[in-house]
Subunit: 215 residues, 4 copies
């Protein structure tokens, strides 16, 4: 029988395919990203990881099985490192690290935080969606990323063994907790998952198209 | 196979037995409750239902399957009616309806609210524990309650057909959502359920023994 | 001294001005909205009010001063009526009322719900932002709305006396609770307010430009 | 003008006085605590600090001013150390560190977590109540604690300079955020504070009297 997390990914194959060939993803992979796009991404993704830590804290406050709690403690530490890497990248390129969140960034992080507030399974499902989408998309993109591409380090980070092991362990932990959810619960968590991966794709689109606030 | 809610009750049979023969329960059933105990109960249970409404609102804010949402909307309305009945009873007996929550009352209602904050399954499980304990205990006590007992109306309320039908529908809704939970999840929800029914028993003990704040 | 809610509006005058002249607002006022825009708006705003009710429930679950609680109970009832009006409008125009939330709709409602989860002042501030923006924008637009415009009823609803009285009472309740907040708290609530009104504007832009999910 | 946190302490002077002369406090200070009482305290307080960490995580998930966030990160680390110290003490005395929470312990920790869920000011106020009560009570008790008392280390921990500096900084942070709260808000936070300190006293009474679950 297909485990729960694989069912979720399976049901969103079309989003996975769209993510893997999105111009932002391809541009970061092969190093052809326009400067303004890089800047938008670095600034918005830095906000994303800071806000993601709030979602992680909300989840851990609900009291998690110890293995999942340890994994999220690891994730929290790696998000701190990632935020610092974005700050350094901003400095290297001569733009400010701090910026205002754009609508899709603020909406996506609010969505993840709401899922965490709504419960352990909801929050873990949304967070897993985001992490799994990252792993799979950058793994697909990695083969297009020459070793001398300026952003090669990022691609390696999200397609390398440590991150792959983390996402696999996270999936096992979620599958162990969710088991074979009832149809009602599977529907509910399926909606949460689909919302998160669509926001992930919309986030890249936002960076690519420079979708700031109107007005 | 035994459905989830019956497994939970089964695992707490000893608490069920202790509740059914608790002196507070017997005293309310046969109409021999001392005045000070009646007063403590009316005042504290009035607070309980007001706070329980906050837990119900928290749960509904998470977004529930529509049948469960309808049931909790019904419960919310009946809690308003119940709070008013406590207020009237206080007036009939010449004491104030408003009082300070005692430690077990404040602790129990905080526990229910926390369960609701922690998620849909946790909150529904805790709430179901409280409602099911009420139904079963007062049903057991009803045969000891003469029709002319001064508190006969309360016993009838919590052992009568409408409340029985509500608890049964609530159980079905929770079973449909919880399905056959994973061992991890069953452990987690089992702890929530056991905590709630022990608080229910401790609440009656508080009323019976007049356990106000120390100092 | 300017009360807190007026300081918040004052600090966002530019967003207010942009809202009042947004093509979606003008088009709804003078009755020239394209069919596809009307449809997007009716479907997305119906989702918005359904999700807004979850934010209202979250806020009331925190326990509000009784006047504010009564006001939010009124709001909740009017949101039910509004959702039904959107459903009827969809039927009148021959399209389905049910739809998927678009990114800005899902992001905005998640943002309001997060604010409610983060606390009473945060949640009330975000909700007030949404209601006040509605009142002021549709009041400004009302003079451009001929009585025989097909959407005149909506404009009247959000610029008429009952809604004006509700928003005024809501503002007084929030001002009474917030008092003269510390600089730290004023900054925090100012960010929440600004985020909500920018999302309000982005919501209209989403309806106007048909901003569905990418991919 | 008296700052907010001092007003809160002032309004609960009678609880402060009762705490400082509670037999549990005196017994821990002079080293005469019965073995069963020590065991109850070590086991229940260990649970308390574990659950308190959940309250701290909930608060930090709301997004705090950075100075308060840093302080709570410090607190979180010291709670880990404290839980380990309780585990060691249990081993030294030959009893299990793990135990079930008793009603007042479960009620008190649920109360603190609810306050954190209800908002930043509510949660900080409840947490400050607990920490300040600890500092003041053990400072008062310290002079009755001979240096060779078996529990002298605990008393020193909670009356020493590092903890005093932490509580002072926490109070300043809370005062800066709360400012001069409106009467409505001051009432609300005053109730939260009073509930927490009464639970603190009830916790010691629970340890002293061995108040386990009934039945």
């Amino acid at each position: 029988m297909t485990v729960f997390t694989e069912q979720l990914v399976e049901a969103n194959r079309n989003v996975w395919a769209t993510m893997a060939r999105h111009p932002f993803v391809l541009g970061l992979a092969d190093g052809t990203l326009p400067d303004s796009t890089l800047r938008a991404w670095v600034q918005q993704d830095r906000i994303f990881v800071i806000e993601e830590r709030r979602g992680v804290a909300t989840l851990r406050a609900h009291g998690l099985p110890s293995r999942l709690d340890d994994l999220l403690a690891d994730l929290d530490r790696s998000l701190v490192v990632e935020a610092e890497a974005f700050t350094r990248t901003a400095a290297d390129h001569g733009f400010a690290a701090e910026a205002e969140p754009w609508p899709v960034c603020l909406g996506y992080t609010s969505y993840l935080r709401c899922a965490a507030y709504d419960g352990v399974l909801e929050g873990l499902t949304a967070l897993y969606a985001a992490e799994r989408a990252y792993l799979d998309t950058w793994t697909a993109a990695a083969e297009r990323s020459p070793a001398d591409s300026p952003y090669h380090g990022w691609i390696q980070n999200w397609s390398g063994e440590p991150f792959r092991a983390f996402v696999a362990a996270f999936g096992r932990g979620l599958d162990e907790l969710a088991g074979a959810p009832s149809p009602n619960l599977a529907d509910r968590l399926g909606l949460v998952f689909a919302g998160a991966v669509r926001f992930e794709l919309a986030f890249w689109e936002m960076c690519w198209s420079g979708q700031a606030w109107p007005g």
